[in-house]
Amino acid sequence: MWSRKSAMLGSLAVAMYLLGLTLRNSQLVTIAVVIFVFLTWAALFGSHADVSASGRRADEWTGEEGVALSNVSAMRKLSSARIFEDGEVGVTLRMQNHSALGKILEVRDRVPEVMRIKDGANYILMELGPRRETFIEYTVECPLRGFYSLGPVAVRVQDPFGLFHKEKELHVYNDFLVFPKMEELKDTFVKSRVPKIFTGAVNIRQPGPGSEFYSLREYFEGDSFRAINWSAYARSGKLMVNERERDAVSDIILIVDSRAVSETGPVSRNALVYSTRAAASLAKFFLGRRDSVGLITYGDEVVSVDRDTGKKQLYVILTKLAGAMARGNVPLQVVVNRILPHINKGSPIIVLSNLEDDPTIISALRDFRARNFDVTVLSPSSLEFEFDAKRLDRTGYEVLKTERDVLISELSSLGVNIMDWEPDMLLSTALAGARGF
């Protein structure tokens, strides 16, 4: 392909040639001839001749590689296909020149925009000898969750003066997944009121076999001697036994708001980022407790992950969270109507939403509460994100903040455990706040 420089020189040569004829000026014609020769030589021996020779213009170029690049190939290897936010992926790009001619190549391995090159470089200018190969290594830092793809590898060869060049995209792609970052939680203060058949590690606030103290009661025949509380016996003179809180598996439902409005704020600090991180942390905590966890994300559609337990379920949930895109505007009421028939009564429900732009929020959460569900709402405040990013002035912020406080109070009066989650607040703190601790 002609560069602008060669196009300019070519045009200049033609103009000088014609002007030379008009003015009968042989100096002008001579300069034009020298420029023509310069361009012709570069076109003939600059490793790009196939393009210029065919006489095709840039816009007619179909992207097919010419001779100069037909013998260049690339392969890529990643150190990991799944990482967490702020993690690093090591990339090794192998470039091979199969031809008998050495080449000076410009290689750019395309990296998603949100990623940062930490070590090495993805843009390399190299001399690759005949039938040689080389390895390019670099590390990318992945600050945001999502499905990503590395590639294609753009290769360019040009003459030393940059007059003509030939480009080719080597369609070598490597996909990888960035899971949301997780916070280590010690307690979530979320407990089910409804026991399930088999025992697990969750206290359900009912006496039964378990590990945590529930209450004291009088001794009955058949009670284990181990359960006798001797201090209480000494105090009251009656045989008293410790009752323990029954452990059981809970069904935990996580609802993540991924509507377009949830991405309001800077790219790395918005409600969706906080919600996905919180959902990942909560899923890990509950699954670690042997609960069964289900996930629902809603944006332009309602996507659900059925309740299940175990490590595999964690990866399923993390994958869904990694792929959650801020799109659409499905109201929460639709989600509630959809899931209500399928969840066990009394199951804890955790909603992660910025509570914006949805007139059905109150009625939807009222529906949950009317059926005695234990509802916790963590609401990352988009208002704070925007105010921090200086996109809102003080007056606007105060007005909107008041409106938000009114909404939160209204939801709180329905018996919803709700917390206005400010950007610098830890998830555990926000949860404790929501649960009234």
Binding site: Y17, R24, S26, V29, T30, I31, F161, P359, L400
Partner: protein, 306 residues
């Protein structure tokens, strides 16, 4: 299943629907007191300017150059040398007669002064542009050099100064060589000054770790070789092309001495039109080779040879 918000009105029938807080997304960028679009909302994209792209284009997005490294300094020195030689040659090969200023003023003295001023300005802006690596000054310098050579010459090569003696002035070959050297120097000046910018950009990108260069010496070596070989080839080939009016009679003389003699003495052939005709003839052949896709075959042969 996708559910659009607009299709869900039936869900709210008979229910109290409360309006929620307005969307912050809509407010973003409009709620500030000044009403301006916030700076962080607009991504910064560095696009090379038109002038930069004309001058060979930056290899990487534009940024402020770091101090010149040795390679760039050498190119700058080379550029200064070429610029001095070019200035002198331009002064010699472009007399004031036939220039625009001569036509306008009608005075040889004024035209000569103006012509010298144009050449001096061309050299001066070239020096400035090269030293401070400023593409705008270089472009002005190019334009001034081209402007200085733009004159009505009546097909005759004439010089402003007879520095080389009468014998030199009468030799057609010597005159052609001098003009070709002038033309090659002009093209070399274009290339060297471009090289200063291109390699400054590359060097800056290397030092800011945007680009990694493998086998730097080989890459630079190839550029240096090209700086020597390409002008030599361009000069030689240009000489051949411009000598068509002497080569052609020599070729014809193999068949007819008289016709060859007539051609040698023909005003048309030794005039600029003869040169232009010869040039056109040569480049039609070159064009034909391109149409036959010779470069591709040549490239293919070079790629696949053992």
């Amino acid at each position: 299943m996708a559910t659009k918000s607009g299709d869900t009105a039936h869900l709210y029938d008979g229910k109290t629907v409360r309006s929620s807080a307005p969307s912050r997304k809509k407010l973003a960028g409009t709620s500030s007191s000044s009403g301006e679009i916030p700076k962080d909302a607009i991504p910064t994209v560095e696009i090379p300017t038109f002038i930069e792209s004309l001058l060979g284009g930056p290899l990487v997005p534009k940024m402020k150059f770091l101090p010149a490294d040795k390679m760039v300094q050498n190119l700058q020195l080379g550029c200064y040398g070429v610029l001095i030689a070019l200035g002198i040659l331009t002064y010699i090969v472009t007399p004031a007669v036939g220039t625009i200023w001569f036509t306008v003023t009608g005075s040889m003295t004024v035209a000569s002064i103006l012509q010298i001023m144009v050449v001096v300005c061309a050299v001066g802006t070239g020096f400035w542009g090269t030293m401070f690596r400023d593409a705008r000054f270089l472009l002005v310098s190019y334009v001034l050099f081209i402007l200085s050579v733009m004159r009505f010459a009546s097909s005759k090569v004439s010089f402003s100064q007879d520095l080389f003696g009468e014998a030199f002035m009468e030799s057609e070959l010597m005159l052609t060589i001098l003009v070709v050297i002038y033309a090659v120097l002009l093209v070399m000046y274009f290339e060297l000054s471009n090289g200063v910018l291109r390699f400054s950009m590359l060097d800056t990108s290397i030092r800011t770790r945007e680009v990694y260069v493998m086998n730097v010496k080989k890459i630079i070596g190839k550029y240096h070789r090209s700086l020597v070989i390409n002008p030599l080839i361009a000069g030689t080939l240009a000489m051949l092309v411009l000598s068509v009016n002497t080569i052609l009679p020599a070729f014809i003389s193999l068949f007819s001495e008289q016709t060859a003699l007539r051609m040698e003495e023909s005003v048309e052939l030794i005039s600029v039109y003869g040169v232009a005709l010869g040039t056109l003839f040569v480049f039609i052949i070159v064009g034909g080779l391109f149409i036959l896709d010779l470069p591709t075959h040549l490239q293919s042969w070079r790629e696949n040879k053992d």
